[in-house]
């Protein structure tokens, strides 16, 4: 066999080529050499971002969490410095909850959320929440009470775990959409660490174009969810007479446009079951009072949003046919404030449980 046989040359060439990829396993980093935080906290102090993360560390077979924070000009730089000073690289791939401090939210979350969407490390379906108190305090309290390990914090918002229709559910991409969209604004849940409960839900924040402008209570958040169609198993208290649970809801909207003024007629049909009563209210009383209470609450909410020119219900979407895109750009400022809403609640008591009420 000749030494410079064709096959020998080819084999050598292929062997040389296969050496090239061995020069680096660039992305190869074992999972136990990465730190995977699940919750990320951001606050703004004098033009600098402070970033807090919880790191799950394995300690003698159990997983505990350690809280680390750092301040820097951008979030990416802060994370980088944290990685630099820790034994493994911090990977934001599994972050499921982003908590933004109220101060930073009122300043504007456009850069923060924009950074997350651009980098692709944080998944766009991570949840967003706004914290009403200092983030450091919140994190240390959470760590003491529930351990902040794994997905227990996120379970507060999980639909198949601790979620309730009183809590708004907003993801990063929805906030991002709210920043750029002509017609959509978002409601972000507002949390605080409480004495009785590790994470108290005190309502939702109205975020317009990335800036927090106002706040609504949990009852009003329930209405917000009803309007969006996500309210099954929410419980409403009726004027101190009874508490009912919503089992089904259906909504019909009809939008029309006259004389540069938008009209929206909505019919919301709720099917409820009675859970508990105080005294002996009759069924009709309950129905009437429920309708009244809901309509009033709703009108108050609309007034509030109109004041802030923030369209969290997405009502602008109904008028996409009537308005051109140029006009839609001014939806919030020109048209929304003149919106006339006629909302009718139609409550149907499906059953009363095991006891009979007349």
């Amino acid at each position: 066999m000749k030494l410079f046989n064709k096959n020998v040359i080819y084999t050598f060439a292929i062997l040389l080529i296969t050496i090239l990829p061995l020069t680096g396993c660039w992305d190869n980093k074992d999972i136990n050499h990465r730190l995977l935080p699940v919750v990320l906290g951001v606050s703004k102090i004098e033009n600098e971002y402070e970033v807090i993360i919880n790191l799950p560390v394995s300690n003698a077979g159990k997983i505990e969490s350690r809280i680390v924070s750092f301040k820097d000009k951008t979030i990416a730089k802060a994370i980088d410095t944290i990685s630099r000073n820790l034994e493994s690289r911090v990977d934001l791939l599994h972050v499921k909850l982003i908590i933004i401090e109220r101060g930073a939210a009122e300043d504007g979350v456009k850069d923060i959320i924009g950074g997350f969407m651009r980098s692709r490390e944080v998944s766009p379906k991570a949840l967003v929440a706004i914290s009403d108190e200092d983030i450091n305090v919140l994190f240390s309290k959470l760590k003491d009470t529930i351990g902040l390990v794994g997905s227990t914090t996120v379970d507060f918002f999980e639909k198949n775990a601790g979620w309730d229709p009183d809590i708004a559910l907003t993801r990063v991409w929805e906030v991002y959409r709210g920043i750029h969209s002509y017609t959509y604004d978002v409601a972000i849940p507002l949390i605080r660490s409480g004495d009785e409960f590790p994470m108290e839900q005190i309502g939702s924040a109205i975020v317009k174009n990335g800036k927090m402008v106002d706040q609504i209570s949990p009852d009003e958040t329930l209405l917000y969810n009803i309007f969006k169609g996500e309210s099954s198993s929410g419980e409403i208290e009726v004027m101190e007479k009874a508490t009912v649970r919503i089992v089904n809801n259906s909504i019909h909207h009809k939008g029309s446009f006259h004389n540069n003024q938008p009209f929206l007629k909505s019919k919301i049909k709720l099917k409820v079951v009675i859970l508990e009563t105080r005294g002996e209210p009759s069924l009709n009383e309950i129905k009437k009072e429920l309708n009244q209470a809901l309509s009033e609450r709703f009108n108050i909410m609309i007034l509030k949003t109109k004041e802030n020119k923030a369209d969290i219900f997405g009502i602008g979407q109904f008028f996409r046919r009537e308005l051109t895109r140029k006009e839609l750009k001014n939806w919030r400022t020109k048209y929304y404030t003149n919106l006339k809403m006629d909302i009718q609640f139609n409550v149907d008591i499906q059953n009363q449980g095991y006891l009979i009420t007349s």
Binding site: D27, I31, R34, S58, G150
Partner: protein, 441 residues
């Protein structure tokens, strides 16, 4: 003594089992020559005497008797010697140079028809092929009672001749393949062949194919069904299996005994085998990719438990996987080789070492053991030992590519394997050919 007998004695005389004796058969003096170990001399002499006696009493002349009882050869000692080596009895008529080749009573040197040792039968015929080529052909003829079944025998090899038989069903087989096969056998008649690699050389297949172009089976039922589907079956003397040409991808998943079950079950079983193969190919690579390169794909709970299980393991995931795969291959190979007395002990030791000790010693994470078990089990659902081994090699490609490029490397490895399978063809018929009877893909 005749010169031809002297010649034969000079060549074969050193063998102690060479038998040479004078005798009287049909009223003439003859010399009987044979190899003692192949011919049962006692019974043969009785049969010979009875036969010639009967013919004599009927009044046939001696000349005619010689023509009747066997083949007549004159002159060349070459053919006579090969006849002796094959186990025939040579009767040399004294005073002439003529020899008669007589078919004697052979010694019982064959195994009886037995159950197959390497293939498990769930519901079907249990008898398996033998070393004797004639018994094998006979078994197939019993399966296919048809005049279209054609048998062609060749004697190949120069120094050590072996008989090679080709069987096919005339109406169903692809005539191109049969002609090509026959012409190649004729061309390479001088090659000495005693195994499948030799057969590949004879048919001029590349020696570096990872997937064999022959399928082999020990069951006559399988062989007869492949004949009915238009394949060619080859037998080599003293190899106890049928060699089926060409080999197609679907032979890994489809075995004819499935048809003894109701159809939905048959389809479910076949899907299960496909899933088994996919798991065997993909699991180790997927583990490396998800643990080392792309952990964002895992749910956080699984990620945390993997993190815990890998705590304290000294080397990266790829090395862990490769070490365990090699150990697993060693155990599989060892189990095949060990005698039946020690075998169970080694399996127990292997199980304990792999399962318990290696995880306790923190050399390997326990998730990996589960993955490897899944891989081996998936691999074992395939049909045919040679298919089993081809897939075993492909998963290494996936593991290596996955460790560098993550899940992207895994997909690329998979594409390479598919392309490799698509590029194989036997005499023009692709490896991925599906014969549905009505139309061909």
């Amino acid at each position: 003594m005749d010169p031809i007998v002297k010649e034969i004695r000079s060549i074969l005389g050193e063998n102690n089992d060479f038998f040479l004796q004078r005798d009287i058969v049909a009223d003439s003096a003859v010399v009987l020559l044979c190899l003692d170990t192949l011919v049962d001399m006692q019974k043969t002499r009785v049969v010979l005497q009875k036969l010639t006696h009967g013919l004599l009493s009927q009044g046939t002349s001696t000349q005619d008797i010689w023509n009747v009882i066997g083949e007549r050869k004159e002159g060349s000692s070459h053919k006579v010697i090969s006849a002796i080596k094959e186990g025939k009895l040579v009767i040399n008529i004294e005073g002439t140079n003529r020899c008669i080749l007589f078919e004697p009573v052979s010694k019982m040197l064959n195994r009886s028809i037995d159950v197959s040792t390497n293939e498990n039968v769930i519901k079907g015929a249990l008898n398996s092929f033998n070393e004797n080529i004639e018994i094998n052909i006979g078994l197939l003829r019993k399966q296919i009672v048809s005049s279209q079944l054609t048998v062609n025998t060749f004697s190949i090899g120069n120094d050590i001749p072996k008989s090679l038989a080709i069987l096919y069903i005339n109406g169903k087989v692809d005539t191109k393949i049969v002609e090509k096969v026959k012409s190649l056998i004729e061309k390479n008649k001088k090659m000495d062949i005693s195994n499948i690699q030799g057969l590949s050389k004879m048919f001029e297949f590349s020696t570096w194919d990872t997937i064999s172009k022959f399928n082999s089976t020990e069951l006559p039922y399988n062989a007869s069904q492949s004949l009915k589907r238009g394949r060619v079956v080859l037998f080599i003397d003293q190899l106890p299996f049928a060699i089926i040409l060409p080999n197609l991808l679907w032979d890994m998943f489809i075995v004819e005994n499935d048809r003894n079950l109701p159809q939905p079950l048959m389809i479910a079983l076949r899907c299960l085998r496909v899933i088994g193969m996919l798991i065997a190919l993909i699991s180790p690579g997927l583990y490396v990719a998800l643990v080392a390169v792309n952990p964002e794909v895992l749910q956080i709970e699984i990620a945390l438990s993997v993190l815990q299980s890998r705590e304290g393991v000294p080397y990266p995931a790829i090395v862990e996987v490769l070490i365990m795969l090699v150990i697993l291959e060693l155990i599989l190979e060892a189990i095949v080789r060990l005698p039946k007395s020690i075998g169970p002990a080694i399996t127990m030791v292997g199980g304990i070492i792999l399962g318990q000790a290696i995880v306790e010693a923190k050399l390997v994470s326990n998730l990996l053991i589960i993955i490897l078990a899944a891989t081996t089990i998936g691999n074992s659902t395939l049909i045919g030992a040679q298919n089993f081994t081809s897939i075993r090699i492909y998963k290494y490609l996936n593991v290596i590519l996955a460790s560098i490029f993550g899940v992207f490397g895994l997909v690329t490895g998979f594409v390479i394997i598919c392309a490799h399978m698509a590029s194989i063809n036997t005499f023009g018929k692709s490896y991925l050919h599906i014969n549905t009877g009505r139309s061909e893909y």
